[in-house]
């Protein structure tokens, strides 16, 4: 999985009725745009390293300079 700063990572809920979760990519810590990613979760601003599994996908955004 590759991501860019500002992309959104969406994680599918694992149980029926569990909502998807998402976080924003703040930094790329792996080689070649790969994981781990430093991400910010939700509205509370908690940051963590994210190691994506098969439950996650990246929503790329167009980055304007």
């Amino acid at each position: 999985m590759r991501a860019s700063v500002g992309d959104r990572i969406v994680i599918h809920g694992h149980r029926t009725g569990e909502p998807n979760r998402d976080c924003e990519v703040l930094e790329i810590r792996g080689p070649d745009g790969g994981p781990p990613f430093l991400v910010r979760w939700g509205d509370n601003g908690h940051e963590a390293l994210f190691f994506p599994g098969s439950d996650a996908f990246v929503e790329h955004y167009e980055h304007t300079k």
Binding site: H14, E18, G42, H46, L49, F50, F51, G53, S54, D55
Partner: protein, 148 residues
Amino acid sequence: MRTVEMLHRSGVGVAPSRTIREVAGVMEQAGIGSVAVVDGDRLIGIVTDRDLVRRVLACGLRADARIDSVMTTPVITVGADEALEAAFGLFATHGLRRLAVMRGDSFVGMLTIDDLLVSVVQQLGSLARPITAEILFAQRDPAVPAVV
């Protein structure tokens, strides 16, 4: 099957200097029951929701204490490309519910015993399906005509 193929959930890591309150917030936001504690690229411990109950709430530890004060270390790990049987063996011998999956020195994700149980049940279901069909819809050979 390799261990990494059984990793269905993304892993989350935090720095050892983060507070217990911050890490609890990460776990809540990410919807996970455990986090890896990583110092740079190096995995140095794991913290589970059970650790937060036993080592924080039950002991009256302040929520602004560092997370590395309650992490479990050393961490039992399994290689991402190791056969799944290796993970089964580690779960059985160490009485664990979570295993850190590593590729070389890098943390890849957290394998839970729940993941394995779900997989085992699904595999048993797959095995039982043809047998069930055979029992319910038995195909019988036509009777051989009697030779007169």
